[in-house]
Protein backbone atom coordinates (compact mmCIF):
# COMPACT_ATOMS: atom_id res chain seq x y z
CA UNK A 1 0.00 0.00 0.00
CA UNK A 2 2.78 2.41 0.93
CA UNK A 3 6.00 3.25 -0.84
CA UNK A 4 9.23 2.91 1.09
CA UNK A 5 10.27 6.44 2.02
CA UNK A 6 7.72 8.63 0.33
CA UNK A 7 4.02 8.13 0.09
CA UNK A 8 1.36 10.76 -0.46
CA UNK A 9 -1.03 8.45 1.41
CA UNK A 10 1.10 8.60 4.54
CA UNK A 11 1.49 12.36 4.14
CA UNK A 12 -2.29 12.63 3.99
CA UNK A 13 -2.52 10.56 7.19
CA UNK A 14 -0.01 12.86 8.88
CA UNK A 15 -2.00 15.87 7.73
CA UNK A 16 -5.23 14.34 9.04
CA UNK A 17 -3.53 13.59 12.37
CA UNK A 18 -2.26 17.17 12.74
CA UNK A 19 -5.58 18.65 11.71
CA UNK A 20 -7.62 16.56 14.16
CA UNK A 21 -5.25 17.09 17.07
CA UNK A 22 -4.82 20.84 16.54
CA UNK A 23 -8.16 21.83 15.01
CA UNK A 24 -9.24 23.95 18.01
CA UNK A 25 -5.88 25.67 18.34
CA UNK A 26 -5.75 26.40 14.62
CA UNK A 27 -9.29 27.83 14.48
CA UNK A 28 -8.60 29.94 17.56
CA UNK A 29 -5.27 31.19 16.30
CA UNK A 30 -6.41 32.06 12.77
CA UNK A 31 -9.52 33.77 14.18
CA UNK A 32 -7.19 35.80 16.41
CA UNK A 33 -5.06 36.77 13.42
CA UNK A 34 -8.19 37.89 11.58
CA UNK A 35 -9.37 39.95 14.53
CA UNK A 36 -5.97 41.53 15.04
CA UNK A 37 -5.76 42.31 11.33
CA UNK A 38 -9.23 43.92 11.32
CA UNK A 39 -8.41 45.88 14.46
CA UNK A 40 -5.14 47.01 12.91
CA UNK A 41 -6.91 48.11 9.70
CA UNK A 42 -9.45 50.01 11.75
CA UNK A 43 -6.89 51.68 14.01
CA UNK A 44 -4.62 52.77 11.15
CA UNK A 45 -7.64 54.31 9.46
CA UNK A 46 -8.52 56.05 12.67
CA UNK A 47 -5.12 57.10 13.94
CA UNK A 48 -2.74 57.62 11.04
CA UNK A 49 -2.61 61.06 9.40
CA UNK A 50 -3.95 61.18 5.83
CA UNK A 51 -0.46 61.44 4.36
CA UNK A 52 0.12 57.79 5.27
CA UNK A 53 -3.29 56.75 4.04
CA UNK A 54 -2.55 58.03 0.53
CA UNK A 55 -0.73 54.83 -0.23
CA UNK A 56 -2.31 51.72 1.18
CA UNK A 57 1.02 49.92 1.34
CA UNK A 58 1.98 51.89 4.38
CA UNK A 59 -0.85 50.56 6.42
CA UNK A 60 1.18 47.42 7.03
CA UNK A 61 -1.79 45.06 7.26
CA UNK A 62 0.00 42.38 5.27
CA UNK A 63 3.14 42.79 7.36
CA UNK A 64 1.16 42.31 10.57
CA UNK A 65 -0.45 39.17 9.16
CA UNK A 66 2.96 37.84 8.06
CA UNK A 67 4.40 38.50 11.52
CA UNK A 68 1.52 36.63 13.19
CA UNK A 69 1.79 33.74 10.73
CA UNK A 70 5.51 33.59 11.50
CA UNK A 71 4.63 32.96 15.14
CA UNK A 72 2.46 30.00 14.06
CA UNK A 73 5.28 28.72 11.84
CA UNK A 74 7.68 28.82 14.80
CA UNK A 75 5.49 26.14 16.43
CA UNK A 76 5.64 23.83 13.39
CA UNK A 77 7.57 21.15 15.28
CA UNK A 78 6.45 21.98 18.79
CA UNK A 79 6.56 18.25 19.72
CA UNK A 80 10.32 18.35 19.72
CA UNK A 81 10.22 20.50 22.87
CA UNK A 82 8.37 17.91 24.95
CA UNK A 83 9.95 14.56 25.84
CA UNK A 84 6.87 12.36 25.53
CA UNK A 85 5.35 14.18 22.54
CA UNK A 86 8.68 13.97 20.77
CA UNK A 87 8.85 10.19 21.21
CA UNK A 88 5.26 9.86 20.00
CA UNK A 89 6.01 11.99 16.93
CA UNK A 90 9.32 10.38 16.00
CA UNK A 91 7.81 6.90 16.30
CA UNK A 92 4.99 7.53 13.84
CA UNK A 93 5.63 5.12 10.99
CA UNK A 94 6.34 7.73 8.33
CA UNK A 95 9.66 8.85 6.92
CA UNK A 96 11.36 12.06 8.06
CA UNK A 97 10.88 13.37 4.52
CA UNK A 98 7.10 12.86 4.74
CA UNK A 99 6.90 14.43 8.18
CA UNK A 100 9.02 17.41 7.17
CA UNK A 101 7.58 17.97 3.71
CA UNK A 102 4.01 17.64 5.02
CA UNK A 103 4.43 20.43 7.53
CA UNK A 104 6.49 22.50 5.11
CA UNK A 105 3.63 22.44 2.60
CA UNK A 106 0.97 23.13 5.23
CA UNK A 107 2.83 26.05 6.79
CA UNK A 108 4.05 27.57 3.53
CA UNK A 109 1.24 27.07 1.01
CA UNK A 110 -1.57 26.40 3.51
CA UNK A 111 -0.80 29.29 5.85
CA UNK A 112 -0.18 31.56 2.87
CA UNK A 113 -3.67 30.81 1.55
CA UNK A 114 -5.21 31.41 4.97
CA UNK A 115 -3.13 34.59 5.34
CA UNK A 116 -4.33 35.76 1.90
CA UNK A 117 -7.94 35.19 2.92
CA UNK A 118 -7.42 37.18 6.10
CA UNK A 119 -5.71 39.91 4.06
CA UNK A 120 -8.59 40.19 1.58
CA UNK A 121 -11.19 40.17 4.34
CA UNK A 122 -9.22 42.98 6.01
CA UNK A 123 -9.18 44.94 2.73
CA UNK A 124 -12.94 44.50 2.34
CA UNK A 125 -13.30 45.75 5.87
CA UNK A 126 -11.04 48.69 5.09
CA UNK A 127 -13.10 49.46 1.99
CA UNK A 128 -16.23 49.36 4.08
CA UNK A 129 -14.77 51.76 6.65
CA UNK A 130 -13.84 54.21 3.89
CA UNK A 131 -16.88 54.01 1.65
CA UNK A 132 -19.44 51.97 3.56
CA UNK A 133 -19.52 49.58 0.61
CA UNK A 134 -18.21 46.02 0.45
CA UNK A 135 -15.38 46.14 -2.07
CA UNK A 136 -11.68 45.45 -1.92
CA UNK A 137 -11.03 47.53 -5.04
CA UNK A 138 -10.87 50.74 -3.11
CA UNK A 139 -7.36 49.75 -2.20
CA UNK A 140 -5.88 49.03 -5.61
CA UNK A 141 -2.37 49.76 -4.42
CA UNK A 142 -2.68 46.87 -2.01
CA UNK A 143 -3.66 44.47 -4.77
CA UNK A 144 -1.03 45.21 -7.39
CA UNK A 145 0.53 41.92 -8.60
CA UNK A 146 4.05 43.23 -8.01
CA UNK A 147 3.21 44.09 -4.41
CA UNK A 148 1.51 40.74 -3.83
CA UNK A 149 4.45 38.83 -5.30
CA UNK A 150 6.73 40.82 -3.04
CA UNK A 151 4.59 39.84 -0.05
CA UNK A 152 4.80 36.17 -1.01
CA UNK A 153 8.58 36.49 -1.28
CA UNK A 154 8.74 38.13 2.14
CA UNK A 155 6.47 35.46 3.65
CA UNK A 156 8.54 32.60 2.27
CA UNK A 157 11.77 34.20 3.54
CA UNK A 158 10.27 34.76 6.99
CA UNK A 159 8.77 31.25 6.87
CA UNK A 160 12.15 29.69 6.16
CA UNK A 161 13.69 31.39 9.25
CA UNK A 162 10.94 30.34 11.60
CA UNK A 163 10.41 26.87 10.13
CA UNK A 164 14.12 26.17 10.41
CA UNK A 165 14.08 27.66 13.93
CA UNK A 166 11.22 25.40 15.01
CA UNK A 167 13.37 22.35 14.23
CA UNK A 168 16.70 23.74 15.31
CA UNK A 169 16.05 25.70 18.50
CA UNK A 170 14.67 24.01 21.59
CA UNK A 171 11.75 25.31 23.60
CA UNK A 172 10.75 27.52 20.69
CA UNK A 173 13.48 30.04 21.41
CA UNK A 174 11.91 32.83 19.38
CA UNK A 175 14.65 35.21 20.50
CA UNK A 176 17.30 33.06 18.88
CA UNK A 177 15.17 32.63 15.74
CA UNK A 178 14.76 36.41 15.50
CA UNK A 179 18.45 37.04 16.15
CA UNK A 180 19.37 34.54 13.42
CA UNK A 181 16.89 36.26 11.13
CA UNK A 182 18.29 39.70 11.90
CA UNK A 183 21.85 38.53 11.32
CA UNK A 184 20.94 36.97 7.96
CA UNK A 185 18.76 39.92 6.92
CA UNK A 186 21.42 42.36 8.18
CA UNK A 187 24.04 40.52 6.12
CA UNK A 188 21.77 40.83 3.08
CA UNK A 189 21.33 44.60 3.58
CA UNK A 190 25.04 45.04 4.20
CA UNK A 191 25.96 43.06 1.10
CA UNK A 192 23.62 45.11 -1.07
CA UNK A 193 25.01 48.29 0.44
CA UNK A 194 28.62 47.23 -0.15
CA UNK A 195 27.79 46.35 -3.76
CA UNK A 196 26.11 49.74 -4.24
CA UNK A 197 29.17 51.45 -2.77
CA UNK A 198 31.58 49.52 -4.97
CA UNK A 199 29.70 50.59 -8.06
CA UNK A 200 28.83 54.07 -6.90
CA UNK A 201 30.23 57.10 -8.71
CA UNK A 202 29.96 59.13 -5.52
CA UNK A 203 31.78 56.86 -3.11
CA UNK A 204 35.46 57.80 -3.01
CA UNK A 205 36.73 54.80 -1.02
CA UNK A 206 35.19 51.81 -2.64
CA UNK A 207 33.74 53.16 -5.86
CA UNK A 208 35.60 53.86 -9.09
CA UNK A 209 38.03 56.80 -9.12
CA UNK A 210 36.99 60.18 -10.53
CA UNK A 211 39.32 59.81 -13.49
CA UNK A 212 37.74 56.47 -14.25
CA UNK A 213 34.29 58.03 -14.09
CA UNK A 214 35.34 60.90 -16.37
CA UNK A 215 36.63 58.41 -18.91
CA UNK A 216 33.22 56.74 -19.20
CA UNK A 217 30.90 57.85 -21.96
CA UNK A 218 27.10 57.73 -21.56
CA UNK A 219 26.79 54.24 -23.08
CA UNK A 220 29.42 52.87 -20.75
CA UNK A 221 27.67 54.48 -17.81
CA UNK A 222 24.43 52.80 -18.88
CA UNK A 223 26.21 49.44 -19.04
CA UNK A 224 27.69 50.19 -15.67
CA UNK A 225 24.25 50.79 -14.12
CA UNK A 226 22.94 47.62 -15.75
CA UNK A 227 25.78 45.67 -14.16
CA UNK A 228 25.01 47.24 -10.78
CA UNK A 229 21.32 46.34 -11.11
CA UNK A 230 22.16 42.78 -12.17
CA UNK A 231 24.51 42.31 -9.21
CA UNK A 232 21.92 43.65 -6.81
CA UNK A 233 19.27 41.36 -8.24
CA UNK A 234 21.61 38.36 -7.86
CA UNK A 235 21.92 39.22 -4.15
CA UNK A 236 18.13 39.63 -3.90
CA UNK A 237 17.42 36.37 -5.72
CA UNK A 238 19.89 34.63 -3.43
CA UNK A 239 18.17 36.10 -0.40
CA UNK A 240 14.56 35.62 -1.42
CA UNK A 241 14.80 32.31 -3.29
CA UNK A 242 17.98 30.41 -2.50
CA UNK A 243 18.28 31.20 1.19
CA UNK A 244 14.81 29.81 2.03
CA UNK A 245 15.64 26.66 0.08
CA UNK A 246 18.92 26.42 1.97
CA UNK A 247 17.22 26.87 5.38
CA UNK A 248 14.45 24.40 4.52
CA UNK A 249 17.09 21.87 3.47
CA UNK A 250 19.06 22.47 6.66
CA UNK A 251 15.91 22.02 8.75
CA UNK A 252 15.27 18.65 7.10
CA UNK A 253 18.76 17.44 7.91
CA UNK A 254 18.32 18.62 11.51
CA UNK A 255 15.01 16.74 11.88
CA UNK A 256 16.64 13.62 10.46
CA UNK A 257 19.27 13.83 13.20
CA UNK A 258 16.70 14.47 15.96
CA UNK A 259 16.93 12.04 18.87
CA UNK A 260 15.01 11.47 22.08
CA UNK A 261 17.98 11.64 24.43
CA UNK A 262 16.20 12.62 27.62
CA UNK A 263 16.44 10.06 30.41
CA UNK A 264 18.61 6.97 30.81
Amino acid sequence: MFGNNFSTMRMALLFKRDLIIHRKTLVLWFSSILLISLAFAFLTQLLLPPIFLGNGRYRGIAEVIIALLAISVSYSFYELDFAEKKIDYLLIPASTLEKYLGRLIVTSVGYLLIGSMIYFISLIFLGWIQTHAFSVWNEKALLQPGYLIRLVQIYLSVHSFFFFGSVYFKKNESGKILRTGFVIYGSFILLRWIISCMFSFHWPIMGPSESAIRSLDENSKMEYYKLLAATKSIVSVTFFYLMPVFLWGLGYLRLKEEEARNGI
Binding site: N5, S7, L13, I20, E84, P93, E259
Partner: protein, 285 residues
Protein backbone atom coordinates in the same frame (compact mmCIF):
# COMPACT_ATOMS: atom_id res chain seq x y z
CA UNK B 1 15.64 -10.76 14.68
CA UNK B 2 17.09 -7.78 16.52
CA UNK B 3 20.87 -7.55 16.54
CA UNK B 4 22.91 -5.10 18.55
CA UNK B 5 26.59 -5.42 17.79
CA UNK B 6 29.54 -3.54 19.27
CA UNK B 7 27.20 -0.88 20.56
CA UNK B 8 28.78 2.20 22.11
CA UNK B 9 26.81 5.08 23.54
CA UNK B 10 27.24 7.93 26.00
CA UNK B 11 25.11 10.88 27.04
CA UNK B 12 26.76 14.27 26.77
CA UNK B 13 28.99 15.05 29.78
CA UNK B 14 28.50 11.52 31.15
CA UNK B 15 30.75 8.51 31.21
CA UNK B 16 29.98 5.89 28.53
CA UNK B 17 26.78 3.96 29.16
CA UNK B 18 27.57 1.18 26.68
CA UNK B 19 31.04 0.48 25.33
CA UNK B 20 30.79 -2.79 23.44
CA UNK B 21 27.31 -4.12 23.96
CA UNK B 22 26.19 -7.14 22.00
CA UNK B 23 22.76 -8.66 22.13
CA UNK B 24 20.56 -10.74 19.87
CA UNK B 25 16.81 -10.97 20.33
CA UNK B 26 15.09 -13.79 18.50
CA UNK B 27 11.40 -14.10 17.52
CA UNK B 28 9.14 -16.23 19.66
CA UNK B 29 10.39 -14.78 22.95
CA UNK B 30 9.17 -12.36 25.59
CA UNK B 31 12.39 -10.89 26.93
CA UNK B 32 12.55 -9.41 30.41
CA UNK B 33 15.06 -6.58 30.36
CA UNK B 34 16.32 -6.01 33.88
CA UNK B 35 18.93 -3.72 35.36
CA UNK B 36 19.58 -1.29 38.17
CA UNK B 37 18.50 2.33 37.92
CA UNK B 38 20.70 4.03 35.34
CA UNK B 39 21.86 0.73 33.81
CA UNK B 40 20.56 1.92 30.44
CA UNK B 41 17.41 -0.14 29.94
CA UNK B 42 15.34 2.73 28.54
CA UNK B 43 18.30 3.93 26.47
CA UNK B 44 18.69 0.45 25.02
CA UNK B 45 15.01 0.34 24.07
CA UNK B 46 15.34 3.77 22.50
CA UNK B 47 18.37 2.65 20.50
CA UNK B 48 16.49 -0.44 19.30
CA UNK B 49 13.54 1.73 18.26
CA UNK B 50 15.74 4.26 16.46
CA UNK B 51 14.98 7.10 18.86
CA UNK B 52 18.64 7.37 19.81
CA UNK B 53 21.60 6.78 17.55
CA UNK B 54 24.51 4.71 18.85
CA UNK B 55 27.94 6.32 18.67
CA UNK B 56 29.51 3.05 17.64
CA UNK B 57 28.23 -0.28 16.47
CA UNK B 58 24.92 -1.13 14.89
CA UNK B 59 21.35 -1.74 15.92
CA UNK B 60 19.60 -3.83 13.31
CA UNK B 61 16.10 -5.15 12.87
CA UNK B 62 16.47 -7.86 10.29
CA UNK B 63 19.21 -6.34 8.17
CA UNK B 64 18.02 -2.74 8.40
CA UNK B 65 19.54 -0.16 10.73
CA UNK B 66 16.94 1.19 13.12
CA UNK B 67 18.37 4.72 13.07
CA UNK B 68 16.99 5.20 9.57
CA UNK B 69 13.51 5.22 11.17
CA UNK B 70 12.17 4.21 7.79
CA UNK B 71 8.43 3.50 7.56
CA UNK B 72 9.18 -0.14 6.75
CA UNK B 73 10.85 -0.54 10.16
CA UNK B 74 8.56 1.71 12.18
CA UNK B 75 5.28 0.12 11.08
CA UNK B 76 6.54 -3.21 12.42
CA UNK B 77 7.81 -1.79 15.71
CA UNK B 78 5.97 -0.33 18.65
CA UNK B 79 7.70 1.30 21.60
CA UNK B 80 5.56 2.05 24.61
CA UNK B 81 7.45 4.50 26.83
CA UNK B 82 7.04 4.57 30.60
CA UNK B 83 5.21 7.89 30.40
CA UNK B 84 3.10 7.98 27.29
CA UNK B 85 1.72 11.03 25.60
CA UNK B 86 -1.84 10.77 24.37
CA UNK B 87 -3.50 13.65 22.53
CA UNK B 88 -6.62 15.34 23.89
CA UNK B 89 -9.08 13.37 21.75
CA UNK B 90 -11.85 10.83 22.06
CA UNK B 91 -10.77 7.19 21.90
CA UNK B 92 -12.36 6.69 18.46
CA UNK B 93 -10.58 9.78 17.09
CA UNK B 94 -7.28 8.53 18.51
CA UNK B 95 -7.76 5.20 16.75
CA UNK B 96 -8.86 6.87 13.52
CA UNK B 97 -5.67 8.92 13.23
CA UNK B 98 -3.03 6.51 14.54
CA UNK B 99 -4.17 3.02 13.55
CA UNK B 100 -3.84 3.48 9.73
CA UNK B 101 -0.07 3.78 10.18
CA UNK B 102 0.08 0.15 11.37
CA UNK B 103 -0.89 -2.27 8.57
CA UNK B 104 -1.86 -5.13 10.91
CA UNK B 105 -3.74 -2.99 13.43
CA UNK B 106 -6.98 -4.63 14.54
CA UNK B 107 -9.63 -2.16 15.65
CA UNK B 108 -11.81 -5.00 16.98
CA UNK B 109 -8.97 -6.32 19.10
CA UNK B 110 -8.30 -2.83 20.44
CA UNK B 111 -11.88 -2.41 21.61
CA UNK B 112 -11.82 -5.95 23.06
CA UNK B 113 -8.70 -5.10 25.06
CA UNK B 114 -10.30 -1.87 26.29
CA UNK B 115 -13.31 -3.87 27.43
CA UNK B 116 -11.09 -6.34 29.27
CA UNK B 117 -9.28 -3.44 30.95
CA UNK B 118 -12.64 -1.94 31.86
CA UNK B 119 -12.17 1.29 29.91
CA UNK B 120 -15.19 2.96 28.33
CA UNK B 121 -14.58 3.15 24.58
CA UNK B 122 -16.34 6.51 24.40
CA UNK B 123 -13.95 8.11 26.89
CA UNK B 124 -12.12 11.33 26.23
CA UNK B 125 -8.40 10.81 26.69
CA UNK B 126 -7.91 14.11 28.51
CA UNK B 127 -10.34 13.05 31.21
CA UNK B 128 -8.65 9.76 32.07
CA UNK B 129 -6.24 9.05 34.90
CA UNK B 130 -2.59 8.16 34.26
CA UNK B 131 -3.35 4.46 34.79
CA UNK B 132 -6.31 4.51 32.42
CA UNK B 133 -4.26 6.25 29.75
CA UNK B 134 -1.62 3.59 30.18
CA UNK B 135 -4.25 0.88 29.67
CA UNK B 136 -5.32 2.54 26.40
CA UNK B 137 -1.70 2.80 25.29
CA UNK B 138 -1.13 -0.89 26.11
CA UNK B 139 -4.32 -1.87 24.26
CA UNK B 140 -3.12 0.11 21.24
CA UNK B 141 0.38 -1.40 21.41
CA UNK B 142 -1.02 -4.94 21.46
CA UNK B 143 -3.65 -4.28 18.78
CA UNK B 144 -0.97 -2.87 16.47
CA UNK B 145 0.36 -6.47 16.16
CA UNK B 146 3.86 -5.33 15.34
CA UNK B 147 6.59 -7.94 15.13
CA UNK B 148 8.68 -6.07 17.67
CA UNK B 149 7.04 -4.68 20.79
CA UNK B 150 9.14 -2.74 23.29
CA UNK B 151 7.49 -2.00 26.62
CA UNK B 152 9.20 0.27 29.14
CA UNK B 153 7.87 -0.25 32.67
CA UNK B 154 4.41 -1.17 31.31
CA UNK B 155 2.88 -1.98 34.71
CA UNK B 156 3.89 1.31 36.37
CA UNK B 157 0.69 3.16 37.13
CA UNK B 158 -1.58 0.14 36.61
CA UNK B 159 -3.91 -0.95 39.40
CA UNK B 160 -3.77 -4.53 40.72
CA UNK B 161 -6.45 -5.94 38.36
CA UNK B 162 -4.79 -4.00 35.55
CA UNK B 163 -1.48 -5.77 36.15
CA UNK B 164 -3.14 -9.15 36.06
CA UNK B 165 -5.05 -8.22 32.90
CA UNK B 166 -1.81 -7.01 31.35
CA UNK B 167 -0.21 -10.41 31.93
CA UNK B 168 -3.19 -12.18 30.38
CA UNK B 169 -3.25 -9.91 27.34
CA UNK B 170 0.47 -10.24 26.73
CA UNK B 171 0.17 -14.01 26.84
CA UNK B 172 -2.91 -13.98 24.59
CA UNK B 173 -1.50 -11.63 21.96
CA UNK B 174 1.92 -13.28 21.72
CA UNK B 175 2.83 -15.17 18.57
CA UNK B 176 5.88 -17.11 17.45
CA UNK B 177 6.89 -14.49 14.90
CA UNK B 178 6.94 -11.71 17.52
CA UNK B 179 9.58 -10.36 19.84
CA UNK B 180 8.40 -8.64 23.00
CA UNK B 181 10.86 -6.86 25.25
CA UNK B 182 9.62 -5.76 28.66
CA UNK B 183 11.90 -3.49 30.64
CA UNK B 184 10.88 -3.46 34.26
CA UNK B 185 11.77 -3.16 37.90
CA UNK B 186 8.48 -4.82 38.86
CA UNK B 187 9.73 -8.34 38.27
CA UNK B 188 6.99 -9.88 40.39
CA UNK B 189 4.42 -8.43 37.96
CA UNK B 190 6.17 -10.33 35.17
CA UNK B 191 6.47 -13.73 36.78
CA UNK B 192 5.34 -16.38 34.35
CA UNK B 193 5.55 -14.04 31.35
CA UNK B 194 9.15 -13.11 30.74
CA UNK B 195 11.50 -15.70 29.37
CA UNK B 196 14.42 -15.30 28.58
CA UNK B 197 15.86 -12.83 31.07
CA UNK B 198 18.32 -10.18 29.91
CA UNK B 199 20.25 -8.37 32.63
CA UNK B 200 22.17 -5.18 31.98
CA UNK B 201 24.93 -4.06 34.30
CA UNK B 202 27.79 -1.61 33.89
CA UNK B 203 27.18 -1.12 30.20
CA UNK B 204 27.13 -4.82 29.34
CA UNK B 205 24.65 -7.63 28.99
CA UNK B 206 25.69 -9.87 31.88
CA UNK B 207 22.95 -12.43 31.37
CA UNK B 208 20.79 -13.38 28.41
CA UNK B 209 19.39 -16.75 29.20
CA UNK B 210 16.16 -18.72 29.18
CA UNK B 211 14.59 -19.57 32.53
CA UNK B 212 14.61 -23.26 31.67
CA UNK B 213 18.40 -23.20 31.28
CA UNK B 214 18.81 -21.15 34.44
CA UNK B 215 16.59 -23.56 36.38
CA UNK B 216 18.47 -26.54 35.01
CA UNK B 217 21.77 -25.09 36.28
CA UNK B 218 20.87 -23.65 39.66
CA UNK B 219 18.33 -24.40 42.34
CA UNK B 220 16.91 -22.39 45.19
CA UNK B 221 16.25 -23.45 48.75
CA UNK B 222 15.12 -21.70 51.92
CA UNK B 223 17.03 -22.27 55.17
CA UNK B 224 16.50 -20.96 58.65
CA UNK B 225 20.20 -20.80 59.56
CA UNK B 226 22.84 -18.81 57.70
CA UNK B 227 24.18 -21.18 55.04
CA UNK B 228 27.84 -22.04 54.52
CA UNK B 229 29.91 -24.34 52.35
CA UNK B 230 31.52 -24.39 48.93
CA UNK B 231 28.41 -25.47 47.07
CA UNK B 232 26.62 -22.23 48.05
CA UNK B 233 26.65 -19.91 45.04
CA UNK B 234 24.68 -17.09 46.59
CA UNK B 235 22.40 -16.40 49.52
CA UNK B 236 20.49 -13.47 50.91
CA UNK B 237 18.39 -12.97 54.00
CA UNK B 238 14.65 -13.02 53.59
CA UNK B 239 11.69 -12.94 55.96
CA UNK B 240 12.33 -15.74 58.40
CA UNK B 241 15.52 -17.14 56.97
CA UNK B 242 17.78 -17.25 53.93
CA UNK B 243 17.20 -17.85 50.25
CA UNK B 244 20.08 -19.96 48.97
CA UNK B 245 21.17 -20.65 45.42
CA UNK B 246 23.17 -23.79 44.79
CA UNK B 247 24.18 -25.73 41.70
CA UNK B 248 21.37 -27.89 40.43
CA UNK B 249 22.47 -31.50 40.56
CA UNK B 250 19.62 -32.41 38.29
CA UNK B 251 17.14 -33.41 40.97
CA UNK B 252 15.49 -30.03 41.49
CA UNK B 253 12.86 -28.93 38.99
CA UNK B 254 11.84 -25.82 40.95
CA UNK B 255 11.83 -22.31 39.49
CA UNK B 256 14.13 -19.52 40.55
CA UNK B 257 12.63 -16.26 41.69
CA UNK B 258 13.65 -13.58 39.17
CA UNK B 259 14.33 -10.98 41.85
CA UNK B 260 16.69 -13.40 43.60
CA UNK B 261 18.31 -14.26 40.27
CA UNK B 262 18.85 -10.58 39.54
CA UNK B 263 20.45 -9.90 42.93
CA UNK B 264 22.69 -12.94 42.54
CA UNK B 265 24.11 -12.03 39.13
CA UNK B 266 24.68 -8.28 39.35
CA UNK B 267 27.42 -8.50 41.98
CA UNK B 268 31.13 -8.75 41.20
CA UNK B 269 32.40 -12.24 40.24
CA UNK B 270 28.94 -13.76 40.38
CA UNK B 271 29.22 -17.50 40.96
CA UNK B 272 25.61 -17.86 39.83
CA UNK B 273 26.36 -16.34 36.45
CA UNK B 274 29.35 -18.63 36.06
CA UNK B 275 27.21 -21.63 37.00
CA UNK B 276 24.51 -20.67 34.50
CA UNK B 277 26.63 -19.84 31.51
CA UNK B 278 30.20 -20.72 32.37
CA UNK B 279 31.05 -17.13 31.47
CA UNK B 280 29.48 -13.73 31.34
CA UNK B 281 27.08 -14.21 28.50
CA UNK B 282 27.63 -11.21 26.32
CA UNK B 283 25.94 -12.84 23.39
CA UNK B 284 27.06 -12.25 19.82
CA UNK B 285 25.33 -14.82 17.70
Amino acid sequence: MVTLSGLGFRYEKHKPLFEDLNLTLAPGNIYGLLGKNGAGKTTLLKIISGLIYPERGKALIGNRETKSRSPGIMEDLYFLPEVCSLPKLRVDEYIAIYSPFYPRFSVDQFYDYLKIFGIDDESHLSKLSHGEKKKIAIAFALAASTKLLLLDEPTNGLDIPGKSTFRKLIAASFAEDKIIVISTHQVRDMNGIIDPVVILDKGRVILNESLSRINSRVSVAMTAAEPGGEDILYYESTMGGYAVITKNDGNDDGEIDIELLFNSVVGENSKVNTAIGGEVRNVRE
